[in-house]
């Protein structure tokens, strides 16, 4: 299920539309994931506060979205473009890849809430495919 040129165009356009809201969206998605998929909390036991809107969640949402931004910029070569991040996730963070799906879903939910008219089924599909490709690239180095 590789990204078609149409998918890439849709993703790039939607990312441009998101613009400065990226950090807010990232924080919201992360906060939701921690609440809706409690297993994801196991990776953040070192945080004081895991509730939606808390400082660590906001900060980390920003970090994650920076990674998504990189992926959008390198959409034509995700494996290559995300090599460093892949190594980080594989050797240091060792996040079980199932959690990428959980975060992706929460990201889609936030997009639906923020852009109810623009997040059409076609946009949904393109973004879903992109997030899946991103997750794959992120797990490249796992084994």
């Amino acid at each position: 299920m590789s990204l078609t040129n149409k998918d890439k165009d849709i993703v790039k356009a939607f990312w441009a539309k998101i613009g400065g809201k990226a950090d807010e969206i990232g924080a919201d998605a992360l906060g939701r994931m921690l609440m809706v998929y409690p297993q994801s909390k196991t990776y953040f036991a070192h945080w004081k506060d895991l509730s939606p809107g808390s400082a660590p969640v906001k900060k980390h949402g920003k970090t994650v979205m920076a990674g998504v931004g990189t992926a959008v910029a390198k959409i034509d070569d995700l494996a290559g473009g995300l090599l460093t991040l892949s190594e980080l996730h594989a050797f240091t963070l060792r996040v079980d890849p199932a959690n990428f799906k959980s975060l992706a879903h929460c990201f889609l939910v936030v997009l639906a809430i923020t852009y109810p008219k623009d997040f059409t089924p076609e946009v949904h599909m393109a973004v879903d495919k992109f997030l899946a490709a991103l997750a794959r690239a992120l797990s490249e180095k796992y084994r």
Binding site: G31, R32, M35, V36, P52, H105, C106, L108, V109, V110, A112, I113, P116, F119, T120, P121, E122, H124, M125, D128
Partner: protein, 147 residues
Amino acid sequence: MVEWTDFERATIQDIFSKINYEVVGPAALSRCLVVYPWTQRYFGNFGNLYNAAAIASNPLVAKHGTTILHGLDRALKNMDNIKETYSELSVLHSEKLHVDPDNFKLLSDCLTIVLAAQMGKDFTADVQGAFQKFLSVVVSALGRQYH
């Protein structure tokens, strides 16, 4: 048996009391058919599913979307016995319809997203958690009689 908090019970009842079945059901099913096109395999006799526009305006899809959403009413009315409540429907989906149960999750995800778009800011993390828990219990019950 599934444990429901008061918040979860109240949230689920509240959501369904306000939902427009004829809008949300069709939107969820058509979104599923577009986002996960392989799910179209179950709807060979629905006519034109050629593209997103065709799916969105297909009356059979709309009708079936509404039917599916009303199927959740049983869970709503029997929250403490969802497993037994869906026993027959599970057999139906397995033995007559031959639906891969993984598809239930795909439809659930689309329904969640459609509801999120409808409810906007009211679809908080807590509400999302309650709704997804409800759907996952139904999905589990629907898959139970497969063998």
